[in-house]
Symmetry: C2
Subunit: 552 residues, 2 copies
């Protein structure tokens, strides 16, 4: 049933505008225009052509990079128009031939990354004051419309032909899985019966009806389209609280040293043991000489420890997802001076209103969410010399379990900071401490008000770590935990972790990664989609799909 | 990958205590005791033996019936002890050999029904004032613990051996999919790292640790167990607002007339066209001579129209799910006197505080939820003579789409009633009108305040129906809609409908049917569970499972 297991194409998550193949970024004062212009022959694999602005992971890596750079490098940008340079085509969505030729795991990771990118657009709107306007200059299908849905507003050209559509169900037998179904009814609040029709009509909806059904905000004839888009973008830009002028800071390339078993960055190291299917991820705390003022932060730029360390962590997590599918368990360690982490945390907390500090904090938040959403088991090991304090302690809170050595001979502590208090929220809208202590919400405030660090005994007593073995038990207990985890069904673990990590309220974001993604993953392995006669397999061929019509 | 497609075992959803094979119901004043005593050889299929109080659908049908009867037949029951008559065994969960031998669709429908039964326990606690106490007299594994989780409180015997456990992931490579993962972290608010450990340790957790981890509310040594359970049940019973004494009303058997293509009840008819994969479900409104007082309602008993009609509707939906897997589209019609429906609705609304009326209303609510959760497409057809008013109009609101004939020559109207206003809430905690008009919440109140019926034109204008074709277009438009629906991938429709039907907030209930169920369905077709060397396949054999360790 599964596509023949090909080697996953090589992909780098590090790019920059001068290297973009598929997007053009143009600045005009407070308004940037990000234009899709996908190069057909520049897909990650030669097996498909990216026609009609269809996309693969490589296209989306560039989009994610552009959004990220607008936040850090261009504080003067207050609104972004997302449009296309192709005549009469906005975007045809994810490339079907790419999907069809991909393994199940690749499909799932591709969708996860594209979902994260769209959520990053919404995060930039909500938290950075950058408003996004989708200017649909032509056909806008599937993932193309899902990209538009992630924007604050959608303007569609009214040329008698251009429509928005979600043709996945009628044409491909799969879902619009990049948030489409969720955003249609939950964000744009399209009536569910109209959404039902929309989701089954391959040709989509255009013109006045698209506005009436709330699928787009406005339609304009071709003659007025560009002017109306430009005017609306100016209006959106005027609502921003970003600085009137730059400069921003440059995001320089992330270039780890890679060997067969290690990936080494400046503050992050990944040690991979494929035999045991375990990787060790170590994050180092800040060294001496960190900034203590906004000017020094601006001057340090992307070398300021939290930004540098979390960018490297983000890259390491993405590498693990895509390039190391057999690594099931990730042992998380930290090292460094906890007081230095706490000092950086306090600096970030004190200056959280400054545009750059705000960006750094939200980036840390998004990276931690990426960890929450990574379908591997994380076990945090807290040993003497660890840097598990404040924002770095979020790594232990994000882990599925934590083990803290309780050795009277070796000082071993953890600490909290104001950064554990509300700036690094999970997808469910709660902090990791709030999610952890759902049963005792009052405990969260008490913990945050306490000053000073926690010994292993105290951390265990306060529920901040899972276990605190003593020095006699430590090696065996940790080894057994890691080994027994590695022996379990990877699918059951993925499902279990996806359910246990997101206790408490659900948000549009958790609905996308919970309900929508889980159903899509199910459909992605059903014969009706990917079997020899499934709809995804049959697409673009002469043959029509044949379904097993049993309903499940 | 899938188990050989056997004919699904015959199952009736109609039972009664004197016919129970697996449960004993005993009354003692305000406290009832429902004891599991599964007969090994009385499973639905001879292919497996129901050892150690493990269960199949037949066992759960009896449980659902018992809960239902306690509500209607025994208003004097204020608390229920759920326990077992087997020595040292409470319940071993769903029968593994049954699961292994079942088709994917059967597994999914089995889990859906058992989930609905557990939610019915919580519904009885929340809305009927019947408190449930799980008295775990022995080992309590998997679905057994999930049943306990649905109770208000859990008491576990502390005999050095009895533990609660969710061994699905470590032993079977699947999830505890009957709400287990969700209720552990969301209802009992077990810390997520402890839940992670609990979910991977086959032997479970017992004694004091089970209390400390919040997995159970109390443990007592064998010598005290029964007395403590009895005492606590009395305390729980004392919190109830139910009548001090009966009598209740009898729920008589539902005995439809069944032919190859029809199932006919007194107020419900199901016409099945397997060639087109379409069924027509018709519900008739009340006839003349309906009760107008509480005494008359009590006297009418289960023949009172709303109870009779919705019991039949519930049975019809369950039959469709389990016995008609190829029917993908269900055309929903009603007939009868709308004023009579509105009169019954007003009577129910006026007496909603009375214990029996309360039960009837909550039963209607649960039946409509059963429809929301049925993975078939529902299209409501509103034609002259229809009974789509008030509570019956909920059927149109629950449908994926509605079509209303707009023919100037034929009077055709719909109407709302107070029953559309808040008594028949969906799983998401909103009414169907609120879910429909998420974008315009003020419209809901305006519609409910309006008196009088809506013509097709008005209903369309107010957004109460999807389409209102005129008499020239009606036949073609409806036929095309039904035909084109039947041609789509049944899996994609299941996923699409599951996402579009539950816009708005998520609740523990929607999390169970969204996030948890969707992941479980995914795992249920993965080779790591059901392949030749999968864990579910290997269970109980001499061979160990072999996994593809790629993480997804």
């Amino acid at each position: 049933m599964e596509a023949a297991a090909k080697a996953a194409p090589a992909v780098s998550f590090d790019t920059s505008p001068e290297r973009y193949r598929h997007w053009k970024l143009a600045m005009d004062g407070a308004v940037a225009t990000l234009s899709m212009d996908v190069q057909e022959d520049a897909g990650l694999s030669p097996d498909y052509k990216l026609k009609l602005n269809s996309y693969d992971l490589g296209v989306d890596v560039e989009l994610a990079d552009a959004i990220q750079r607008l936040r850090f490098e261009h504080p003067e940008v207050h609104a972004v128009i997302i449009t296309s340079l192709k005549e009469r085509v906005f975007c045809a969505g994810a490339n079907i031939f790419m999907l069809r030729g991909s393994t199940h795991a690749w499909k799932v990771n591709f969708c996860k990354f594209t979902n994260e990118t769209r959520l990053a657009i919404e995060d930039a709107s909500q938290h950075s004051g950058i408003k996004f306007l989708a200017a649909l200059n032509g056909i806008c299908a599937g993932g193309g419309y899902e990209l538009a849905l992630a924007c604050d507003e959608i303007i569609l050209v009214d040329d008698g032909n251009s429509a928005v559509s979600l043709p996945e169900t009628p044409l491909l037998g799969v879902l619009p899985g990049t948030g489409g179904l969720t955003r249609v009814v939950d964000k744009r609040k399209v009536r569910r019966d109209l959404a039902d029709v929309f989701g089954t009509v391959a040709e989509g909806v255009k013109g006045k009806r698209a506005v009436e059904w709330r699928l787009v905000d406005a339609v304009y004839p071709t003659s007025q389209f560009r002017a109306r888009v430009a005017a609306r973008a100016q209006e959106l830009a005027a609502t921003s609280d970003r600085p009137a002028a730059g400069p921003g800071i440059a995001l320089t390339p992330i270039r780890p040293t890679v060997t067969d078993s290690t990936v080494s960055y400046s503050a992050v190291t990944l040690d991979i043991d494929r035999g045991k299917r375990v990787a060790t991820l170590t994050v180092s705390g800040p060294g001496p000489g960190q900034p203590s003022t906004i000017d020094e932060i601006l001057s340090a730029g992307d070398q300021f420890w939290p930004l540098r360390a979390f960018r490297e962590l983000d890259d390491a997590l993405l590498r693990l997802r895509v390039m190391e599918p057999l690594i099931g368990t990730i042992v998380v360690k930290t090292c460094g001076d906890q007081d230095a982490v706490l000092a950086v945390d306090q600096l970030l907390f004190d200056h959280q209103q400054h545009w750059l500090v705000r960006e750094i904090i939200h980036f840390m938040k998004r990276t931690l969410k990426r960890m929450d959403l990574t379908s591997r088991s994380f076990f945090a090991l807290i040993e003497p010399g660890s840097g598990f304090a404040g924002s770095l302690f979020e790594l232990a809170l994000a882990a599925d379990r934590s083990y803290m050595l309780d050795d009277p001979e070796a000082e071993n502590a953890i600490a909290l900071s104001p950064m554990n208090g509300g700036l690094l929220k999970m997808s469910n809208g709660l902090t990791r401490l709030e999610t952890r202590f759902l049963a005792e919400p009052q405990r969260v405030d008490a913990l945050l008000q306490r000053t000073g660090s926690f010994t292993a005994e105290e951390a265990l007593e306060e529920g901040l770590v899972s276990f605190a073995p003593d020095e006699l038990d430590w090696d065996d207990e940790v080894r057994l935990a890691v080994e027994s985890r590695a022996a379990l069904s990877p699918d059951a673990l993925t499902g279990m972790e996806a359910n246990l990590r997101f206790a408490g309220p659900e948000t549009m974001e958790t609905k996308i990664f919970g309900r929508l993604t889980a159903w899509q993953n199910w459909i992605f392995i059903r014969p009706n989609a990917v079997g020899a006669k499934g709809a995804l397999t049959a697409y673009g061929s002469q043959s029509r799909p044949e379904f097993d019509f049993n309903r499940t």
